[in-house]
């Protein structure tokens, strides 16, 4: 693609037309309302930053944002710790086993959100299996209604978003490079660290960003498994919209979360992968780029 195709310089080719339906839809259902939220958040023509200032001074928003960020980070770390070895194993087994492993990780996708969350309620609640398990050790741990419970459930729900980009990144890695390293006398761990890990980084970044950004905006799981005592930002947004009818304040909060997310994505983008790495298809490109 480095040689400029002369035809390209005469303007976009008709294939761009293929984008029009999607772009029109995006404009109508995403950009337009987003612009409207932004417009409301700055005073609907009266141009004020009061709604933004209030986020920083009301004493609650920042705390909830921090709690949300920490929760999202923990979920991301857990999903990564579970997802990386899992994806690695997926690249090392036969096609049939790989199919089975893929199905296992995709089951959360195929199950209704409500069913999954209610199942977690049953598992985490008082006298549920988790509570009973901890009681064997004399501990009284009820995860239902706590951020810890929300974290566990979110890690499970979001695991596919970690495993899939990782799997495509890892399966694109040429294992002969490892053999070559071993042949040249490298210790397996060194070979992993110097060769395998850097090659997998595109998928890692994609997985981390996907899981983290999705965690930031998670609503159903915290609303059902968490507690108003420990709300996350989506619950705060919901409350501001549906109870206080404070569309401007909710818009400002939404914009703040959006900006934080975009900044993070841009920042993470510098560590490998490109924006195109974000997405479940991510990793075929890893192979292409080399």
């Amino acid at each position: 693609m480095n040689t400029p195709d002369p035809a390209r310089w005469r303007g976009p080719s008709p294939r761009w037309l293929l984008l029009v339906p999607a772009l029109a839809l995006l404009a109508a259902i995403l950009l337009l309302p987003l612009g409207q939220s932004l417009f409301r958040s700055v005073g609907q023509g009266d141009w004020t930053l009061d709604h933004y200032a209030r986020l920083f001074t009301d004493g609650v928003t920042l705390r909830v944002l921090a709690r949300t960020a920490v929760t999202a980070a923990v979920v991301t770390v857990i999903a990564f710790a579970l997802g990386y070895p899992y994806a690695y194993v997926m690249t090392r087994v036969g096609p049939r086993m790989r199919g089975v492993l893929l199905v296992i990780v995709l089951i959360p996708f195929w199950t209704s959100v409500m069913a999954r969350n209610f199942a977690w309620i049953v598992i985490l609640q008082r006298e549920g299996p988790v509570h009973s398990f901890f009681r064997l050790f004399g501990l009284d741990v009820v995860l239902y209604g706590s951020v810890a419970g929300v974290t566990v459930a979110m890690s499970q729900v979001l695991l596919p978003f970690m495993v899939l980009p990782l799997f495509s990144a890892l399966s694109g890695i040429d294992r002969r490079l490892l053999l070559a390293a071993r042949g040249l006398g490298s210790h397996p761990l060194v070979a992993f660290w110097k060769i395998y890990w850097p090659l997998s980084r595109g998928g890692v970044v994609a997985g981390l960003i996907l899981v983290f950004t999705l965690s930031l905006g998670f609503y159903v799981t915290p609303a059902l498994l968490g507690s108003p005592k420990e709300s996350l930002v989506a619950q705060l947004l919901g409350q501001r919209t549906t109870q206080l009818l404070d569309f401007a304040g909710a818009g400002a909060l939404g914009m703040l979360v959006l900006v934080v997310t975009l900044v993070l994505v841009a920042w993470a983008n510098r560590f490998g992968g490109t924006i195109s790495a974000i997405g479940v298809v991510a990793a075929a490109p890893v192979k292409d780029r080399t």
């Binding site: 005469r10 303007g11 976009p12 080719s13 008709p14 761009w16 037309l17 029009v20 772009l23 029109a24 404009a27 109508a28 337009l32 009301d58 004493g59 609650v60 705390r63 909830v64 309620i121 049953v122 609640q125 008082r126 006298e127 239902y144 209604g145 609303a223 059902l224 507690s227 108003p228 005592k229 420990e230 709300s231 619950q235 705060l236 409350q239 919209t241 549906t242 109870q243 206080l244 009818l245 404070d246 569309f247």
Partner: protein, 355 residues
């Protein structure tokens, strides 16, 4: 060159699409209440809405064949605001808290005229400038009988709910203001039932601090009902209409009739509904004794019309706030106070909860 033309064309068609979308929100002409009108009725869904279809809508359509109903749910004041602001009001009769209707009277909800309704037997506060009540939800202090099997050692007063030393165990409280989250702590703190308003929200939250660690705060009635059924909480303030199905499903519940907080549920018409006249005529009929009795029989809620004689099930009788079972006092929430202070107390409560 060809492609540039195509691009311009595509941009134009996108704009045309957007314009069409925007035009969908155009003004409509007021409907003649004597003509054929389909009222869009927004309730809370489930058994409650079915009861309203059976007791409000079907008899009304039978008497006024030109009026029919389209049912949808759930009601949401934010949605009303979005409809009003975009100029495309598609809801006509919306279930709403009277305080929300009063707070947004004239801005989000149509002022209504119910001068034709005889208020003689109606509970005070049933008719407001922008709403008409239809049933009353009480959220009495109750506990799972299993948690306190010995009546002599069971909690007897609202103050006992807040006494963690004497009555350990998990509490359940709804975070909705309509279910008494601010009234009960004040009552426990010694405020007389008739001196509750204006509410001292700070004092209420301070009292709630004392039980914060042993309390499950439920964001909606369904969640608390679930928590009671699954034995997650021992004592709670839960809406009567949710206590009845719990008891019907075999959870033994004892209601503590000390002071009980109750609130009116109402209907309102979103501002700019072209069918406001027809809606108002229909809404005037929802307080009729027979209609409200029918709702109470299904839901176990209290009727707004004291002349109503619902034929209650045994379990519904146990939670009947205006019935013989209630040996204590009843506080009906002050609609006007909530209308004036809703945003302030909601923010205070949310901040306290999130803290």
């Amino acid at each position: 060159m060809v492609s540039r033309t195509v691009r311009v064309g595509a941009t134009l068609s996108t704009l045309a699409l957007l314009a069409t979308l925007a035009a969908c929100g155009g003004e409509t002409t007021p409907a003649d209440p004597d003509g054929n009108v389909a009222l869009t009725f927004v309730g809370y869904g489930g058994v409650g809405q079915q009861a309203m279809i059976d007791n409000y809508q079907k008899p009304y359509t039978a008497a006024h064949p030109n009026i029919t109903f389209v049912n949808t749910s759930p009601p949401d004041v934010a949605q009303v605001k979005a409809q009003v602001e975009s100029g495309s009001v598609v809801w006509d009769v919306v279930a709403v808290a009277p305080a929300a209707a009063t707070q947004n009277c004239g801005t989000l909800f149509e002022p209504l005229d119910f001068s034709g309704v005889d208020p003689k037997d109606l509970v005070k506060g049933t008719i407001g400038k922008c709403y008409i009540g239809n049933f009353i939800n009480a959220s009495p202090f109750a506990y799972r009988t299993e948690a306190f099997p010995d009546p002599a050692k069971a909690p007897k007063t609202v103050a006992d709910f807040f006494d963690v030393q004497k009555f350990p165990g998990q509490r359940g409280i709804l975070t909705n203001l309509q279910n008494g989250i601010l009234e009960y702590p004040l009552l426990a703190d010694g405020v007389a039932p008739d001196a509750l308003y204006p509410l001292d929200a700070d004092r209420a939250l301070k009292k709630l601090d004392t039980i914060r660690d042993v309390t499950t705060f439920a964001p909606n009635v369904g969640a608390l009902q679930q928590a009671v059924g699954a034995k997650q909480v021992d004592m709670f303030f839960l809406a009567d209409s949710r206590l009845v199905p719990l008891m019907n499903d075999g959870t033994a519940i004892t209601v503590v009739w000390d002071t009980t907080v109750a609130s009116i549920n109402a209907f309102a018409v979103p501002k700019g509904s072209p069918k406001v006249k027809a809606a108002q005529q229909f809404m005037a009929t929802v307080v009729a004794p027979q209609a409200v009795a029918g709702i109470s029989e299904v839901l176990g809620t209290a009727p707004v019309n004291l002349a109503a004689k619902p034929n209650l099930s045994e379990n519904a009788t146990k939670v009947q706030v205006y019935g013989p079972a209630n040996t204590g006092k009843t506080v009906l929430q002050d609609v006007d106070w909530y209308a004036a202070n809703f945003n302030e107390v909601t923010t205070k409560l949310t901040n306290w909860l999130a803290g």
